[in-house]
């Protein structure tokens, strides 16, 4: 299947800055006047060393944090002024996360972990089982593992569970924070292949936050971030 890049904007960051304030009011600026557009169907990497502000940028894009100044539009909707409930709704339906440390709930089975986002969807009327099975198949996790607990799985299998959980709500955007950071290189490559497949086969918009430069070869664009400033380079794909 050939990849088709849509032109509609999923992410539109306009002059975004973010500062943290220490006790005593001392301002620590983290992001400086970021402008970034990510279109539907794109797969990009945000690349930078530790402390460069890439995780903060991901948190703002994912609606987990809010910018100090600037405008952020997600799929045309202004995110800046959203209430905490509206942000939760956004994360519930449109944005999903894959974390470096998987963040799977140890007491739940794979199936239950994948179901988690659906139980918080106010408007969900579909068939739970259909959505979960669909997501697990897309993440290419074999059925024999579906009713195991996370501690019975390998690192790669756990990350596939996290991918399935991210996919189950059928989001517009998938944010992956160091998705291969806790995996050996072979397993990490398998996870990257899985993400590429999701992007190419289903047109899922994916933003990967990483310091792994090898990923630049598999994405459309690379956003380099250093000291809270970005500059863009073309991906090698």
């Amino acid at each position: 299947m050939t990849k088709k890049i849509e032109t509609s904007k999923v992410i539109d960051l306009r002059d975004i800055s973010k500062s943290f304030y220490l006790q005593g009011g001392l301002e620590v600026p983290v992001l400086h006047h970021i402008n970034l557009v990510v279109n539907e169907g794109e797969m990009i990497a945000i690349l930078g060393p530790s402390g460069s502000g890439k995780s903060t940028l991901m948190n703002i894009i994912g609606g987990l944090d809010v910018a100090t100044s600037g405008e952020y539009l997600f799929a045309g909707k202004l995110v800046n002024n959203m209430t905490s409930n509206e942000l939760a709704e956004l994360r519930s339906t449109d944005i999903s996360f894959i974390f470096q440390s998987f963040h799977l709930l140890a007491s739940k089975t794979v199936y239950q972990n994948v179901m988690l986002p659906l139980i918080y969807q106010q408007s969900f009327t579909g068939d739970f089982d259909e959505y979960i099975v669909h997501a697990l198949n897309r993440a290419a996790l074999e059925e024999e593992h579906w009713h195991k607990k996370p501690n019975q799985l390998s690192g790669g299998q756990r990350q596939r569970v996290a991918i399935a959980r991210a996919l189950v709500a059928r989001p517009k955007l998938l944010l992956a924070d160091e998705p291969t950071g806790n995996l050996d290189s072979k397993t990490g490559n398998n996870i990257i292949d899985a993400l590429i497949h999701l992007n190419e086969a289903y047109g899922t918009t994916i933003v990967i936050v990483t310091h792994d430069e090898s990923l630049t070869e598999v994405v459309h664009r690379v956003i380099n971030i250093k000291d809270g400033l970005i500059h863009e380079t073309a991906g090698k794909k």
């Binding site: 409930n85 939760a88 709930l105 140890a106 918080y120 959980r165």
Partner: protein, 393 residues
């Protein structure tokens, strides 16, 4: 978040921390058991005391004070009086039967004893209660006294002589009557008036007169009339209660009710303290849970949980804990109550009455404890920022 997910999530969370949940539930079980047991004990006591007061408060009115025979006759002749009974208590008289000391209540009575007390003769006969001049050294005893003598001496007191003070009396009958069962100690002995005055007491006056009215609905008017008339005969203020007083059976029962309500309230408070401690245990567990599950809460928020969803989830976990504890506490009370009632079957005071009202109140209190003590941890959890929560170690 739908309610079925809330409940299944809370059960799963409690199962995953089984030992801690179990210990917290034990705290609530003890608390609910204390509350229900105390309420049930209070209710049993209340029921017992009311039954006894109802039978003790003979007649519709009880007139107390220095009532002489003329006063009694005047009361008895009033058109609204159906039956009356005057009694004179003998205090401090030593009672000896077959060489053994006993401590029964001793009274002289005049009037319609049968009409007011509705006794039954167990053995023997009775003397003429109505005759003020009846003057034979005979007594009638309650079955409580007869049983006590039989128990202590092995002999039947009927037709035998007993000594009261320095006088000897022949027991001619044994009675059973509701009011007699209230008498503490060794039962009751009834004597003719003439055999008491001057011999066992220095007073000629009756201590009380029990009155049964023709129509008991007019007890207030009748009581007022008797009081005013007796006061007028002594040139006292009409509404004075210094020398005479009139109590209605209703007022006896109300006083008893107030007393038992106070006792029930006290017992309830004692149980409530145990429940409060259980509630603090629940709050402690929920606070620990929230701290331990900060990352999980962050994740839930990251995948779309609203503040309200998190708050509800922690609250439902807390309510599930206390409800389980409440249910077990109620079952424990039912079991212990049944056993206690069997053990204390002969007791006239201890009785456990577990009414549906007690069970419903206990269940509601258990839920309420879950809400009250779960609210603070739940609010803390709901206010966590997802970014901070996900970073938590």
């Amino acid at each position: 978040m739908k309610i079925r997910f809330l409940i299944s999530e809370s059960f799963q969370a409690l199962r995953s921390n089984f030992m801690r949940s179990f210990l917290t539930i034990i705290g609530i079980v003890v608390g609910i058991f204390s509350v229900t047991a105390m309420l049930a004990l209070g209710e049993g006591l209340s029921e017992n005391v009311l039954n006894r007061f109802s039978s003790f408060a003979t007649g519709d009115l009880t007139v107390s004070g220095q009532i002489n025979y003329t006063d009694y006759q005047w009361i008895n002749e009033q058109p609204y009086v159906a039956k009356s009974l005057a009694s004179l208590s003998v205090n401090g008289a030593k009672v000896i039967a077959f060489g053994t000391d006993f401590s029964p209540s001793t009274q002289a009575v005049i009037g319609d004893y049968q009409g007011v007390q509705n006794y039954t003769i167990v053995e023997g006969d009775v003397f003429d209660w109505q005759d003020i001049n009846f003057d034979e050294p005979v007594v009638v005893v309650s079955n409580g006294f007869a049983d006590k003598v039989k128990e202590d001496t092995g002999q039947s007191v009927l037709n035998q002589e007993i000594t009261i003070g320095s006088q000897k009396y022949k027991v001619i009958g044994v009675l059973e009557a509701g009011a007699m069962t209230f008498t503490r100690g060794d039962g009751l002995i009834l004597l003719p008036y003439k055999q008491v005055v001057g011999l066992l007491t220095s007073s000629k006056n009756f201590s009380s007169v029990a009155v049964v009215l023709q129509d008991s609905t007019y007890f207030e008017i009748a009581g007022q009339h008797i009081l005013e008339s007796l006061n007028a005969s002594r040139q006292l203020a009409l509404d004075s209660e210094d020398v005479f007083s009139v109590e209605t059976a209703q007022s006896f029962i109300e006083a008893a009710q107030q007393t038992t309500q106070m006792i029930s309230l006290f017992l309830g408070i004692v149980g409530g303290i145990a429940l409060f401690v259980g509630g603090i245990g629940t709050m402690n567990m929920m606070l620990t849970t929230v701290t331990e599950r900060t990352k999980e809460i962050g994740l839930r928020k990251a995948v779309g949980a609203r503040d309200r969803d998190i708050m509800l989830q922690i609250l439902v976990e807390s309510i599930t804990l206390t409800s389980l504890g409440g249910a077990l506490g109620i079952l424990l009370t039912l079991g212990v109550g049944k056993i206690a009632n069997q053990i204390f079957a002969d007791s006239e005071i201890i009785k456990i009455v577990i009414s549906m009202q007690v069970i419903v109140v206990a269940a509601m209190v258990a839920v309420l404890v879950g809400v009250v003590f779960g609210l603070y941890p739940a609010r803390n959890a709901s206010k966590l920022q997802p970014v901070d929560a996900l970073r938590a170690e």
